[in-house]
């Protein structure tokens, strides 16, 4: 790991691509989600493509661009020659030369250009998070770290958690589980809740679809449940068509969880609400044409509920959750000008 840049006050810094207040679906109470950039997996269905790479990236929403023929605010801004200005229409980005300095985005009035990821210090981020303390105290809310894989920026993530603790703000972490055990343990030490993704038990399929081996993930979950029996650990499984949308795979996950009595479980419905963001990054959404029928999801939810009941876990019912960030990304809002240009809605950590 490269040496971490620090602010003069000694506060470690990291790359944050969104801070989202008034989140209601990611843990107790009214929460603020902090999205850290960089991920240790590359899931095919990822709803937050902007979260995957560690470095900042420039996004371009052609639909919002006013056209270079009427708007010249980004002309002559790029010193790297990476912003290609056509005679008319939206500029293009040469991603080989772009350093993601953000200069062009700062000039664009239409939010057609937007920088995903800025370097911020832990205390700066907590200053923002802390503004909502009047809501946390009443609702039992706090900060939730999300990503990407927030623990991939290990030192920064832990600094955020420590800073939250110092300010008496409850913290939670959403993780894909593919991180060193020591990091996870340190985070668990500082958190009130962990949201832990388990995508599949089948190792080959897991590698094929996420680019990562699930061995370490599963063992991390076991160790977590073992070492922190009183910590609120919630396992979340996003249901993905063609990957784990059958009783066999969900059943395998439930069998695995049967050994971990302290862990609760949620199924997350599949969506493609982040699809547009692939285009913003000049990438292709491989799963844009895939859908999961509601009936399939409902059937799996019923199946899971029944299985949990049989194993005496009715108190830990299947909770059909939606992550907070899916809500504003609903199609009607994406189209609405003024609602942060459609860039909002980093879609949780899965």
């Amino acid at each position: 790991m490269t040496a971490l840049a620090r602010r003069k006050d000694g506060s470690p810094t990291g790359i944050v691509f969104n801070v989202q207040r008034y989140s209601l679906h990611d843990g107790e109470g009214i929460r603020t989600l902090v999205f850290l950039k960089g991920c240790t997996l590359r899931c095919r269905w990822c709803g937050n493509p902007e979260s995957q790479r560690r470095k900042p990236e420039i996004a371009r929403n052609v639909r919002r661009c006013l056209g270079i023929e009427t708007c010249s605010y980004c002309t002559g801004v790029c010193t790297e020659g990476a912003l290609r200005l056509p005679a008319a229409g939206a500029p293009a980005i040469d991603r080989n030369n772009c350093t993601a300095c953000g200069a062009c985005a700062a000039k664009c009035p239409a939010l057609a250009l937007h920088l995903y990821g800025t370097r911020r210090s832990a205390s700066e981020v907590l200053d923002e998070v802390e503004t909502d303390w009047p809501f946390y105290v009443r609702s039992g809310g706090g900060m939730t770290l999300s990503g990407g894989e927030p623990l991939a920026q290990e030192e920064f993530a832990l600094a955020l958690l420590r800073e939250a603790k110092r300010r008496h703000i409850d913290a939670a972490v959403e993780t894909c589980g593919l991180v060193p055990w020591e990091t996870l343990a340190a985070a668990a030490e500082l958190s009130g809740a962990i949201y832990f993704d388990i995508k599949a038990i089948d190792a080959d399929r897991h590698i094929a679809w996420t680019g990562g081996n699930n061995r370490a993930i599963l063992s991390n979950l076991e160790r977590l449940a073992d070492a922190f029996p009183r910590l609120a650990v919630t396992v979340r499984t996003p249901v993905i068509p063609g990957f784990n949308d059958d009783e066999a795979e969900i059943g395998a996950i439930l069998s695995f969880l049967a050994r971990l009595p302290s862990v609760s479980f949620e199924l997350l419905p599949y969506h493609r609400l982040g699809s547009e963001k692939y285009r913003f990054l000049d990438r292709r959404d491989e799963m844009s044409d895939q859908a999961l029928p509601t009936e399939r999801f409902d059937a799996l939810a019923a199946f899971a509920a029944e299985r949990r009941r049989l194993t005496g876990r009715s108190s830990l019912n299947v909770h059909i959750a939606e992550k907070s960030s899916e809500i504003p990304a609903a199609p009607a809002l994406l189209a609405e000008p003024g609602v942060a240009a459609g860039y909002i809605g980093a879609l949780g950590g899965c």
């Binding site: 207040r21 008034y22 239409a110 609702s139 907070s324 009607a332």
Partner: protein
Amino acid sequence: MTPHDIADIQTLSSQEQRVLNRISGQTDRFRDSHARAFTILDGFEGTRPTIDVERALYFTQSFRQTEGQPLVLRWAKALHHIAENITVSIDDNQLLAGRIGKPGRYGILYPELDGDFLGQAVREMPHRIGAPFGISEQDARIVEAEIAPYWKGRTYHEALNMALPPDIHKFTYDAPEGLVSRFIVNETSSFRSSIQWVHDYEKVLKRGFGDIQREAQARLDALDPLSPRDEVEKKPFLEAVVLVSGAIILWAHRHAALARKLARNESDPRRRQELDDIAGICERVPEHPARTFHEAVQSQWFTQMFSRLEQKTGTIISNGRMDQYFYPYYRADIDAGGITDERVLELIECMWVGMAQFVDLYISPTGGAFNEGYAHWEAVTIGGQTREGRDATNELTYLFLKSKQEFPLHYPDLAARIHSRSPERFLREVAETIKEGSGFPKLINDEEVVPLYVSKGASFGEAYDYAVSGCAEARMPNRDTYTSGGAYINFAAALEMALFDGRMLKFGERRLGAATGDPRSFRSWEEMWNAYLTQQLLFCKTAFTQQYIVCGLRARHFAQPMGSALHDLCMEHCLDLHTPQIPGGINLGYFECIGFGTVVDSLAAIRKLVFEEQRVSMAELIEALRTDFAGQAPLRLLLRSAPCYGNNDPYADEIAREIDRAFLEYSRKYSRELGIHNDIRYVPFTSHVPFGKVVSATPNGRHAFTPLADGSSASHGADVNGPTAILLSNYATKNYGYRERAARLLNIKLTPKCVEGEAGTRKLANFIRTFCDLKLWHVQFNVVNRDTLLAAQREPDKYRNLIVRIAGYSAYFVDLSPDLQNDLIARTAHGSL
């Protein structure tokens, strides 16, 4: 999208679900348990109101006879004449007697107020967009022949128009006759004889008008026969109280007689019994103290309806703390086994449907534009604290909430008082009711109101016992003595004048405001700020001067003997409630600022982009405003990207706080000259729409002549950080060190999704606790999907029943003008970001 598509993809509020069910022909699931109220509602829901002229006719007939007599006595005589002659009727299925107009939805006329508009109005009202009324040809002729002519030259509105000095008049009215508002510094005292008011209904229930009449008679008998003051002031007042008490008793007895007659002719034995019961009750109340819950409800109903006959109380008389003053009767009946909760709901819902048929009628076009969708604020207050500062919720509190959840009617307006020790049960039930989606209840915060009222001179007991009144006000029924409507200031016009050296594009080259110089010559932000402040202060002076004149003038035009009879201080001093100064009273007046968010965002954009970052030149900005951003889309968006109020952004919030402070300082210094508290309030009704129509493009990127920001809410779409940031911005921009502040209205629109399920209820309740902690005055919620509103715009027939919250009141969405509908749609909806 069709209604069914909407149901498919979105979480719906209960109201949306109900509307969709209705479209597909299903019966309401609460219909059986609220059968009587639904049946009555079916008879008038969605119909266009008609004008009833009887009240105006009898009032005018009496006034012709009493020229030259003391006003309060004339008023009492007029009310007596009305009580003797007005048609009395009892609706089928109703358990309460006392309607004051034709069957269905109706409005009545108050020619003493603005009768000079009447001739024009009766011809125009049926065609008005926003709140049309029908009138029969025969009634229109009565207005033209027997009512309007008498009032020509006698109305309050004409007197005010003539009394305003030219410098004040030019900001107030568009032309010398004063028929059209200029929408810059708007007077509202001619829309109504009194601002919203709450009577001490408890007094009627406990004592009855018979006892009040006896008291007045005894004091009349005891007057000093040699005292000129007793002769001139006290005698007519007390005579008026005797007369008006007799009038309401007489009116009740006419209902009793009618009920007996109807009972005799009734073939259905159940209905016959009901009519006989009604007769018995009307023979007893409001003359005598109420003994049962039913009597208490009837007594209150007669009082509020008679109050509507008495004067136009803008807009509609409020109902006070109903869960408190009805409680003893409820408790006693329940304990004696004489009543059930179902019967209690049936009785109060009979009152709700009665209220819903009375529609407040605004004659002047300006009044209509301010109060779209048949605005009404007959606030029923629930919750809050007792006079001892203990929590006041009781079983009735919960029944009122239950009624709102199950019987979807936007009458009455329901207001819940919240305080730091409001029980969790109460907050959860309030949250559940808000989730229903029709905007009830609105919330008023004891933690802000009570200390503020104590600082303005109330005792703790009085302050704890306040009742919500009208849009967002709070009243202490035996201590408040101020009834004049206040000025509405168009803030955004002050900004425009600062940018165009005292001119506004809408009004051409004529300089209306102060000469503050060409902003293109301003070298610093301070110069810009000072120019703005100069215009703002000129508006303040205009508003206060208007009020100075209004305060002196109104008492010569209006009296309210019944309202005064119910007020301790009026009775003590034998003064009508409209008297400018009543000893011992607290005069809680206010003036209104429209377009707060618009001005804050505009000034923030100028400060940041023109002066600090110099990304936009002042010349460029002025040109863009002049042309309404024609061909300037990039610049417009750049301006919109500046810091905005409502995002908890200290940059914008600091400007907002300074604007607020300037008003407070002005009020602190000059209220004294008026002898009242004339405090700053941010509550727009629907006036931000007409006010927007005179203001050209603004530097926050708002297009010319579109609505301004409403109340203390953010500009349309400007609040992108979610509702927590809105509350914090509101908090950050208040100057808690000043007592010269009054209500602030705050609208928040949520998607049903983000309050879904039990977790959603809990989080909404938590959110309300924080609202209380922050000592904000008011908040109200719309819980609705944007697509539902769009669908209702497209297919109004199907969505006749869709209720939305506007500005301290709820109305049928389809009753609103397209402008206001769009305004509602444009308010940012907050999902759980």
